[in-house]
Point group: C2
């Protein structure tokens, strides 16, 4: 087992079980250049957190999708054998006993048309929209034969394919393992894995909101029931917040007629008890702090200082251009605030670092247009540099901006967690005030130190911006310090340890 | 008290309390012509049901809005005194002891600008949209200072104004009365009436859906809390279905942190217990049957027989052009069904009798355009008379069509009850099959005799249409007879008696 002791009272080593992870995106993707095979580390909260986990567990295997051509070549080359990847100094396929953290990867190649139906017809538009409440139900969705077939031949087929890859890895460990499934791509996997591997312990973590029962009625009963039944193949279904875990149980009760216990947070299905739990995910504090000290961040910081000088305040947002992030209303609130307080015009700028996202989905394509439109309108009204819009992804720039901002706006309609909020409070050095939507997962932890915003109420968001910009320095600092302490305590290691602790308490954990 | 005994085991007379009703629309509206003052009876399920109630209770006073100029003249003329209206032979203000059913009306005049904010900024767009789940949350609503002010100076002010009119009437009866408040226009009335009339029994009936807690988060906390707190001024809050009553309690729990009992269906607030109950409203069976025999209906029936001949089947829908009715997807399902079963082209027509509605609300205006667009598209594809679209309101024509149709499509996104479904099964004479959305209130009673449709799934609705059109005659007839029996049993009299029975069981009913 690992030399590296896991911090805290529940060492991950105590698990005593091999771990099989499944997520759609993996920790590394490969490419081929003139210099040969190269590897690039994945980004994003989930991948970072799980990479931390896998680094602690040499016996872990991470099952994920082959996304590049080179990934697919490796998938063919290695078949059902896992690939040993050394992560340092740069990620590469390891040929022998190298020191430093390793990962074992099982890249799964999927037929491109099945993958398209799975990913671009079901998971990202349909499930994402249902779970974030994004549909304007008067006109969308229109579920036709196309979507019904895509659920069967895309989503369900791809889930079965990944389930089989997981089953292989569990069987390679003698049929006994902890299987940790991740996110909305894989709701149907647990049921199949349980059938094939009755001695496995299976958990599923949903990283996006789990809405109330009636929201699921957007899907016809056979689809929504397959999703819930698929999830009931787990021993533990996990979410970021109490609200989501409770919604899962209410859905079992209302949509499937199952017996639930809302105090014990369990549901009984097929004679088995399934636990609904919540564990707020977090960031890797050490790596955030390391990045803060990097040359790239420091250079950006200097440029930001020059652009904003010391007396211009910065309202920041860092998001994908996802309609769930509520970007347009955020700008309208800024506009309203400047209209209500014209003395602030010119003294405060809105810096928006927005990564274009899912431009193959019409609503996302239109949303970038709406963002551009409202920015032009506001800059025409209040000065050409009132809002600085950057449509790109640049993590060092984002971190520099977290450090420098006076206000961070997180006004999402609905958001499973929102790690941007946690990153900002960790590295900010100006008493940055967090404006945090009540509908983010992060609000359960950080709401008391933030100014809560209500995502549909533009006037309230405008008033919140003004309150943040005029808050006394001491109060700003107190709130920031308190929020950062929560993030440091509830770090990603704790997120993981709490899950492992609950798995170890399962009756099935000692049944062997 | 009334000479007319109420049928069933709980005579309304047993109430022994004067009744004060409140609804926005009243049972009669007045006009002035060359011949003098004329009165027109209101239509709609609620008004019909309450007129039945008031007819049984000579001591009842009905408080409602003055909607015409003549109504306003009467409001000024009579002040806070109720107007005695005889309903037969034609409704008129009664000057003495006339035989036949009477009503006592208290017309309330409201400042037009307040009323506009109350009705056209808050009640009909905002509350209606929130409660029917109609917003595309990525872009709407945008709550600004305008909406916030309209809530205060419109909705809350108009509620206070009507509450004062109710209080006057309760005081005129010595402070002890049964106050029955109705619908989404008046969520804030009970709290004020209770404060002024602590000995009153107060109930509120919501005729539209009451959605799950998170749906209310579209409103900022002060607004949603005022609505829930307003409702908690009642002794009983009533809805059409178990689901809506339960959602109310869950909202009290999640949004206000109150203690609820989901078995007893109660919530405790301010030391008082409030009951959440459900009573499915229905139609007046006798008056539906009387109308069926009327000349107007019989003439329409003959015309329909000529238009459809005996061998052409009729799919019918009768609705306001409200996006919640899901009219466009219904036509798309018909299109899909004809595409899947081309042998049916020409043998079945879709007759859509749609009353234009709320054309001052942009989404409604656009929706009529969408309806016209999809009808043109489908008629171009399948024949010019595939869909016959009539944009008008014509009750005798609707009743004739109920009688003649082979299939009635009720595929609403969300609908408090849907009386169209009940009317059709009462008067249909061709084994008409009901297609009924799972999201209508009527589905709790009639779902087992209908073909359930899932409003977002066009393919499923197309398959349901085909199943209905090809169902064996005996099965069609059996289902129709069974559904009609349920409607006859759960008629509007029973709706009312069950409410009165529960009021009589309240501890406060005997406290006096």
């Amino acid at each position: 087992m690992s030399e590296q002791p896991a911090t805290g009272q529940t060492p991950i080593d105590a698990l005593g079980l091999p771990v099989v992870l499944l997520s759609h995106r993996g920790p590394v993707s490969f490419a081929r250049s003139a210099a040969g095979r190269t590897a690039q580390r994945g980004s994003g909260g989930l991948v970072t957190a799980l990479t931390g986990l896998a680094g602690h567990l040499p016996e872990a295997v991470w099952v994920c999708a082959a996304t590049s051509d080179e990934d697919r070549r490796i998938a063919v080359e290695y078949g059902d054998k896992a690939v040993d990847v050394a992560l340092e100094p740069a990620a590469h396929i390891s040929e022998g006993d190298e020191p430093g953290p390793h990962l074992r990867l099982r890249l799964v190649d999927v037929d491109p048309r099945q993958h398209e139906d799975f990913y671009s017809v079901i998971a990202n538009p349909l499930l994402w929209f249902v779970q974030h409440g994004l549909y304007g139900l008067a006109s969308a969705p229109e579920l036709t034969r196309r979507e019904r077939e895509a659920f069967d031949t895309g989503y369900a087929a791809v889930n079965a394919h990944f389930a089989d890859a997981v089953v292989e890895q569990v069987h390679a460990h003698g049929g006994r393992a902890l299987v940790m499934l991740h996110d909305y791509h894989f709701y149907l996997v647990a049921e199949r894995v349980r059938r094939e591997c009755p001695r496995a312990l299976i958990t599923h973590f949903t990283h996006i909101p789990w809405p109330e029962p009636d929201s699921w009625r957007v899907l016809p009963p056979d689809l929504r029931e397959r999703i819930f039944r698929g999830m009931l193949g787990n021993d533990v279904v996990a979410f970021h917040t109490r609200r989501f875990a409770r919604n899962f149980l209410l859905g079992c009760q209302e949509l499937l007629g199952l017996r639930v216990d809302l105090d014990a947070m369990t549901v009984t299905a097929g004679g088995r008890e399934v636990l609904a739990r919540y564990y707020p995910i977090s960031v890797d504090v050490a790596s955030m702090e390391a990045m803060m000290g990097s040359d790239a961040v420091q250079e950006h910081l200097q440029a930001l200082d020059e652009a904003f000088l010391s007396d211009r305040k910065m309202i920041l947002r860092v998001d994908r251009t996802d309609p769930s992030k509520n970007i347009v209303r955020g700008f309208r609130a800024f506009d309203t605030m400047l209209g209500d307080h014209p003395e602030l015009v010119g003294t405060v700028r809105f810096f928006a670092l927005l990564q274009p996202s899912r431009q193959d989905i019409p609503e996302y394509f239109d949303y970038i247009g709406a963002i551009g439109g409202v920015v032009a309108e506001i800059n025409a009204r209040h000065g050409a540099d009132a809002i600085e819009l950057r449509l790109e992804s640049d993590l060092p720039l984002a971190v520099a901006a977290y450090s420098r901002c006076d206000v961070l706006m997180v006004n999402a309609l609905n958001d499973g967690m929102n790690l941007v909020a946690k990153e900002m409070v960790l590295v900010n050095s100006r008493g940055g005030v967090l404006l945090l939507s009540e509908n983010t997962g992060a609000h359960e932890e950080l709401g008391e130190f933030a100014i809560t915003v209500y995502p549909f109420d533009i006037q309230q968001q405008a008033d919140a911006l003004y309150a943040a910009l005029t808050m006394p320095a001491a109060e700003r600092q107190d709130r920031l310090v308190a929020a950062a302490a929560v993030v440091r305590h509830n770090d990603v290691g704790r997120w993981l340890r709490r899950q492992i602790r609950d798995v170890l308490r399962l009756p099935a954990a000692t049944d062997g």
